[in-house]
Symmetry: C2
Subunit: 199 residues, 2 copies
């Protein structure tokens, strides 16, 4: 049996890097193939379009990150996990800034603003990811209320989405100003949203 092709993995990695650097509209299949060192024929053997590769890239990325979210949220009181998770999100931007000199931003947020109704598959994939994130946050809020560390009236999907919105908005501004210190008080803001003591 022959070795399986590395091309899909290489294309996904090239797409992830290019999407972060230059966004969706600005890149083309030829450029992705060049970065991946894969021929155009191979691209179309594995993916029908740039959109299809982008969806595969987002699914792969979120599958890995989701594992980390679950791990962090597997705490006893719900809130501590959320705090660690959101502090880590800020930390990722800071680390990237230290190592490369720029803020990497959020791949999902970037694409959410750049894509419209004409990229239906991509949009639907992004909705699934944000739904999943909001649901994971909501579960942590439920756990916190059940052990008494959060008021029951904050346990709503709206609150879960509000925390994700706060994260996305803060990362957007940190990216625009190329300044990770903009994320330093992210958890404080979120604590306000949750009506808990600001640590």
């Amino acid at each position: 049996m022959g070795r399986t092709s590395d091309a899909p993995q290489q294309l996904v990695e090239a797409a992830r890097s290019l999407l972060h650097d230059r966004g969706y509209s600005a890149i083309g299949v030829a450029e992705i193939c060049e970065r991946a060192n894969v021929r155009k024929g191979s691209f179309y053997y594995f993916f029908p379009s740039k959109q299809a590769l982008t969806v595969a890239t987002l699914r792969t990325t979120w599958a890995a990150e989701r594992g980390r979210w679950l791990e962090l949220l597997d705490d006893e009181d719900g809130l501590r996990g959320l705090e660690t998770l959101f502090r880590e999100q800020a930390g990722i931007q800071l680390e990237h800034h230290v190592s490369t000199g720029s803020i990497i931003g959020c791949l999902y947020g970037n694409l959410a603003l750049e894509t419209g109704a004409s990229e239906a598959d991509l949009r639907s994939c992004l909705r699934e990811i944000f739904d999943d994130q909001s649901q994971l946050v909501f579960s942590a809020l439920s756990k916190a209320a059940s052990v008494g560390t959060l008021s029951m009236n904050r346990v709503t999907m709206e609150t879960g989405r509000g925390l994700i919105a706060q994260l996305e908005g803060a990362v957007l501004l940190a990216k625009l100003y190329d300044d990770p210190s903009r994320l330093a008080n992210l958890w404080q803001q979120m604590a306000g949203l949750l009506g808990i003591a600001r640590s």
Copy 2:
């Protein structure tokens, strides 16, 4: 004396509409000229580049919106003005959804995520606009604290930026889901951030 040219104004309006519809990277000078019904020679007579026209478009747009912000924030207790302002921001998205069937989103937020270090003038213009917005919100917070409707410890530029981040993040998600109801509880979330009673 001859009539002054309408071309700059037509180009700005065409650019605003195209930037909302398709973003910055996806559009070109030829398309903007076609939408504006202006010849390419005229474009380059008034603007050296797509980036220069985009900066002019953002400045024109924010100058008009800024007047409205000042008007709304000119209230007696600061907080009421902020509430009206942010409810109006949600209302604009709802109205646009009713009249066109889609969420228009935030032009500044869209471009903030789509442009990078290579578009230095555009980035600098967006930073000025978000600085100005945060400063206007901060002034309203100061006024609220001075009349006793807000705790003094919330009167920081971080809180001002936090409210703008919440607005941007919530509009991003409303646009992705094409659902203005996602903005229905925006002020409630912000009231949480401000540590005031959620109305």
